[in-house]
């Protein structure tokens, strides 16, 4: 029977929650799996994923793995994959998208990017994945013995612990690619935020170009009230009203919260691709013909600058 190697992503010394989507993938494929926790500080974080039913939790911890330079991670991931694994799975975060193809190329493996579903048919796996900005779903099979997939976080609901305690085992660090000598990590410029991550939030408040310089002033109080993550359209990010990492869409973060507010967002195809999977969508836009209304469960044709403060006070009354 095939075995899956899940590559856990780390951030701030912890296993990122996005990893739990790859665990859900492995459970859906109904195959035994191990989890490779890789990065500087991985040994201390490994205990976080021992309760999910993995055969083993493998640890690759080394100072050379600080800084998430793909050329240092890929060789060890590939080396571990060769110790009896048939499928390598990694969540399709920016880290996963960067490293997964490189691992596939090292293994001579086929790669199914950003999969949204998996079907097991007599041991052969068929993957489902969105194409054309989520306007169609393709089914595909990989024609190689070893396979690599990246897993769409918004479509594989984060796994819950299943009990038990997987054994933790250190693995050998492979020598870095020669190319690694030509990459120097300078730094990660991250905006520290107390808000939940876009991929994990129950509620997301997203704003568009219409918010202009008042983006944070208008949306933050609403987001704070709802303990929501803040998202943005491309136009809002391009104009500098919101930082780029907040972009939701085909080429930004793909999200599926319980509740999504699209405020002053027109609803271009590329934006819809990133949020159409949300459970309930609310749109506030002053243009009654804005395409966002075609996907919204509740639409309010109104000026956002008066509506959002009103919404905040009504919500306070209601909760």
């Amino acid at each position: 029977m095939s075995k899956i190697l899940i590559v856990a992503e780390m951030s701030d010394g912890k296993v990122r929650k996005s990893t739990h989507s790859s665990i859900t993938f492995a459970r859906s494929a109904n195959l035994p799996f191990s989890i490779l926790v890789i990065g500087a500080g991985a040994a201390a974080a490994a205990g976080e994923v021992t309760g999910y039913g993995a055969e083993k939790v493998l640890v690759a911890d080394d100072a050379s793995l600080a800084g998430q330079v793909c050329e240092t991670f890929a060789p060890t991931i590939a080396q571990v994959a060769k110790t009896g694994f048939d499928i390598v799975a990694i969540t399709a975060s920016s880290f996963g998208k960067d490293v997964a193809p490189r691992v596939a190329a090292k293994l001579g493996a086929g790669y199914a990017p950003d999969i949204s579903g998996v079907l097991s048919d007599g041991g052969k796996l068929t993957y489902k994945r969105p194409v054309y900005a989520g306007n169609a779903y393709a089914t595909c099979q990989l024609l190689t013995a070893t396979q690599v997939v990246s897993v769409r976080q918004s479509e594989f609901v984060a796994a819950e612990p299943s009990g038990g305690a997987s054994a933790i085992e250190p693995v050998q660090i492979a020598p870095a690619d020669p190319a690694a000598a030509r990459v120097e990590f300078i730094g990660l410029d991250a905006q520290k935020s107390a808000r939940p991550d876009l991929g994990e939030a129950r509620v997301i408040v997203s704003g568009g170009r219409a918010l202009k310089e008042k983006f944070a002033e208008v949306l933050d109080p609403l987001a704070n009230l709802l303990n929501a993550a803040v998202g943005a359209s491309r136009a809002a990010c391009d104009a500098g009203y919101a930082p780029p990492e907040l972009q939701v869409g085909q080429t930004g973060r793909v999200v599926a919260p319980k509740l999504y507010f699209a405020i002053g967002i027109s609803g271009a195809i590329q934006h819809l691709a990133g949020m159409k999977g949300s459970k309930t969508i609310v749109a506030i836009n002053k243009d009654p013909d804005a395409p966002i209304f075609q996907v919204a469960d509740y639409g309010l044709v109104a000026d956002l600058f008066t509506t959002v403060p009103e919404l905040i006070s009504e919500l306070k009354k209601a909760t």
Binding site: S11, C70, S93, S94, F95, K97, D98, P101, R102, A104, A105, Y111, P113, D114, T126, P130, V131, Y132, G134, N135, A136, Y137, T139, C140, Q141, L142, L143, T144, A179, R182, V183, E184, F185, I186, L188, D189, G199, R234, C237, D238, P244, E245, Q250, R253, K258, L259, A268, I269, Q270, K276, T280, V282, V295, D297, Y298, G299, L300, L311, K317, A318
Partner: protein, 274 residues
Amino acid sequence: MKILVPLKRVADPDNANKVKVNGGKLETTGLEWKPNPFDEYAVETALRLTENGTNTKARQGEVVVVTIGPKDAETTLRAALATGADRAIRVDAGDEQVDGDLVARILKAVVDKEQPDLVLLGKQAVDGDSNQVPQLLAEYLGWPQATFAATLKSEADKALVVGREVDGGTLSIRVTLPAVVSVDLRIVAPKSVTSVHTPATHNYPDGVRFAALMAIMAAKKKPLAELKLADLVSDPALKIQYTGFELPPARKAGVKVKTVAELVEKLKNEAKAL
């Protein structure tokens, strides 16, 4: 600096909601071919790296564009030539004949021939949304990769400082050339690309440049070479097989609410979303 820019044409992405599925097959009939937007950004980036921004006529280096596709994909190459690329290569292949892996292996062979200092690609082709060719190519070449580049600073044409857009913010790395770089949306902002050839005070217009009519005419005379797939790759086997397509389930139509109070009432009692 010599830069190779691989380009793909895609069915009009602004009308992607018009794709149809017929008998499990995907149909894009009626959708016009457009250059993949990220590849247009890659061409613009290549031009900015190889010119003095205050005098964009003279190239300080060479920009070569390449596509793997059928004859009609040459339109995309000509468009890139018209904006300033120096020459073009088309590797003849039907769209169904290649997958991302084979494209990367073909590109490796083209790189081996052309010996560029830098390969600049779009971060993803917005038809398949795969986001894989740049990374695969980097591994096949054994070169460093810098994906999702939002800013690029060229240091004496020998190294690049790249600001990469990642989930947590912007990650900066320095790569020594030759390297593979894939570009993100904001690479075409006025100050995203800094080259040694352009004064630091220079501001580019936001977005990509358009070709003047004269340049479009002149581009017809620029060299466009055709290469055969079989001359570049001995094993053209595919690693992925698409077996079917379906349309996503439609969202059920929503309602317009009249007041904020009504919205909150519905969110609370109907959607139970609060």
